[in-house]
């Protein structure tokens, strides 16, 4: 398992480096090579416009990761801020935040994203907004639970007795203690976001036609399922391999840092 996950990560990292260092244009169309099956020159074959599927997938991943990076930054920072605030201060604020998180938890995340993607016109920025709206809840819950745990530990109490201020306690003691579980949570969240972003594009609510998107390619490929199954298989397997590798990496970090589940 470990070797497979490593190989997948290595393969896509090399593809990314190739794109950055040498660069390529994935939108070159060859009319006489429409839906060519995989061969040595075109590893994954060609799509319905005669574009190289492999190169397009790399561009799709880059687009996807740009969106996911923004979403993860927005959701993790706001989630941790809300969670720590509610866990550390407690009281009425905590009650309100707890209620709002339950309210959000009662709504399937992807449905919320679909609803917002429906209101906003499709595009990168709006996709980021749609995916961010429900994403902070997971971070907030975890940050709150961890803050409550850390707050009661002796070294935090000792530093408080020595007169450290609230902000010093939060920045010097609570946030460092939070960092490892949050990174693990973020890793799993990224894997989920790849599927969520691809799902939205699959439904036609994500990035639009000329831009390469994983879900958009999946959607196009299903139309040619009968004639050229390689298109759907390679696109689907690539998305799945990425999700698998990231989840595996998350499991590895989880074990490596010895994080206990609640």
């Amino acid at each position: 398992m470990k070797q497979i996950a490593l190989a997948i990560i290595l393969f896509w990292t090399c593809s990314l480096i190739y794109k950055i260092l040498i660069g390529f244009d994935s939108s070159i169309m060859e009319v006489d090579e429409i839906l060519v099956v995989p061969n040595l020159t075109y590893w994954f074959g060609k799509d319905d416009f005669g574009r190289d599927i492999y190169l397009r997938l790399v561009d799709g991943f880059i687009n996807s990761f740009q969106i996911i990076l923004c979403v993860t930054l927005i959701t993790s920072i706001s989630g941790i801020f809300i969670g720590v605030l509610s866990g550390y201060l407690g009281g009425r604020l905590d009650q309100v935040i707890k209620f709002v998180t339950t309210l959000f938890m009662s709504f399937p995340g992807i449905l919320l994203a679909i609803a917002f993607a429906a209101i906003l016109s499709p595009g990168k920025l709006n996709l980021i907004i749609a995916l961010s709206i429900g994403g902070w809840v997971g971070y907030a819950r975890l940050a709150r639970a961890q803050t409550l745990l850390v707050k009661e530990q002796d070294f935090v109490k000792a530093s408080q007795i020595m007169g450290s201020s609230k902000s010093r306690t939060v920045f010097r003691h609570i946030l460092p203690a939070l960092s490892t579980p949050m990174i693990v949570e973020a890793t799993y969240a990224v894997a989920g976001l790849i599927i969520a972003e691809a799902s939205l594009s699959f439904l036609g609510l994500g990035l639009q036609a000329p831009e390469a998107s994983l879900g958009g390619m999946m959607r196009d490929s299903v139309r040619y399922l009968l004639a050229s199954p390689h298109y759907a298989i390679f696109v689907g397997a690539s998305i799945m391999s990425m999700v698998f590798a990231i989840n595996f990496f998350g499991d590895f970090l989880h074990k490596f840092w010895g994080i206990k589940d609640d």
Binding site: F99, T102, L103, S106, F107, P108, G109, I110, L111, I114, A115, A117, A118, I119, L120, S121, I195, A198, S199, F202, L203, G204, L205, G215, M218, R219, S221, V222, L225, L226, P229, A232, I233, G236, A237, I239, M240, V243, F244, N247
Partner: protein
């Protein structure tokens, strides 16, 4: 219990509020967004008054609530017909699909999980574990095409998509079920392994009960409790999976209605679909919580 009911009611109101705001959150004029820039002014005014957008927000809100209380979901902009019959057809179709998927997942999930735990470490166990790992990480939009390729195109057993014939439901239901099945297997196996070495099971063995009686009567009942929560939580992914699966297989359910209404900018239909999906989600969460308390006496206090 009362607190739980109150939270659920609050959640439904919250969802109603969000879906209501959808019409008002559209950047720019919703009427222009719906009809396009080229619509005539008279048409725009007509739609505006039909949607009630010329009134104040509070007035619109109370109006919407009273309409909903009478079971009126409004009229579709596209067909100019009441949404209700269309919506109820979609609910029926999704209900059929989801209940079949849930049945497949629960029945085979339990059998697989119990088998894997009983023969822990054996060849069967490893097969089941690896298969479930595969199905957990496969997204719906890839599993669907794979199943079509295998079952319809390669083997030719089942129709590719659509709703004709009684076998048409099998592929979309399988697509929905397999991911959930894998999670149920994993959870059943884990909780079975905990229970296998517990006092209850040892006592039952000491009493001289047969292996089958112990598995079904003692272990299964204990496994059921944590699994109810898992199944309740999975319902959300079942509904969101239905959106993808129904679009993929052209199954005329709530998910497909939702996506089509978004594409045709038929906002009242979008609103009604989201409201129904979210309300059923809250309802299932509530039922899960009640069942959990009912089954596990320790939870009642």
């Amino acid at each position: 219990m009362l607190k739980l009911l109150l939270t659920s009611v609050c959640q439904i109101f919250g969802i109603f509020f969000i879906t209501f705001l959808i019409l008002h959150l559209i950047p720019g004029d919703p009427v222009l967004v719906m009809m396009g820039e080229s619509a005539s002014l008279a048409d725009q005014e007509k739609l505006r008054s039909e949607l009630g957008l010329d009134k104040s927000i509070v007035e619109q809100m109370t109006n919407a609530i009273s309409q909903l209380a009478q079971g009126n979901f409004g009229t579709s902009i596209l067909t100019n017909m009441p949404i209700k019959p269309q919506l109820f057809d979609a609910i029926n179709n999704t209900y059929a699909l989801a209940s079949l998927a849930l049945s497949i997942a629960i029945i085979f999930g339990f059998i697989g999980g119990i088998l894997a735990a009983k023969y822990q470490g054996s060849y069967i166990d490893r097969c089941i574990i690896n298969a479930s790992l595969f199905f957990i990480s496969i997204p719906h939009f890839f599993l669907g095409p794979l199943l079509i390729l295998m079952m319809s195109i390669y083997l030719g057993w089942l129709p590719v998509s659509g709703m004709e014939g009684k076998y048409a439901i099998i592929l979309p239901a399988l697509t929905l079920a397999l991911g959930m099945l894998a999670i149920i297997i994993k959870m059943t196996r884990n909780s079975m392994l905990e229970i296998i070495n517990s006092d209850v099971v040892r006592t039952a063995r000491a009493k001289g009960l047969g292996e089958l009686a112990i598995t079904l009567h003692h272990m299964f009942r204990l496994v059921l409790i944590p699994l109810i929560t898992i199944i309740g939580m999975q319902f959300g992914s079942l509904l969101s999976g239905a959106v993808i699966t129904e679009t993929l297989f052209s199954w005329d359910g709530l998910g497909k209605l939702l996506v089509t209404s978004i594409q045709t900018r038929d906002y009242p239909v979008t609103q009604a679909c989201i409201l129904i999906i979210a309300t059923s989600f809250v309802f299932i969460n509530f039922l899960t919580e009640v069942a959990y308390r009912f089954l596990d006496p320790r939870m009642r206090h």
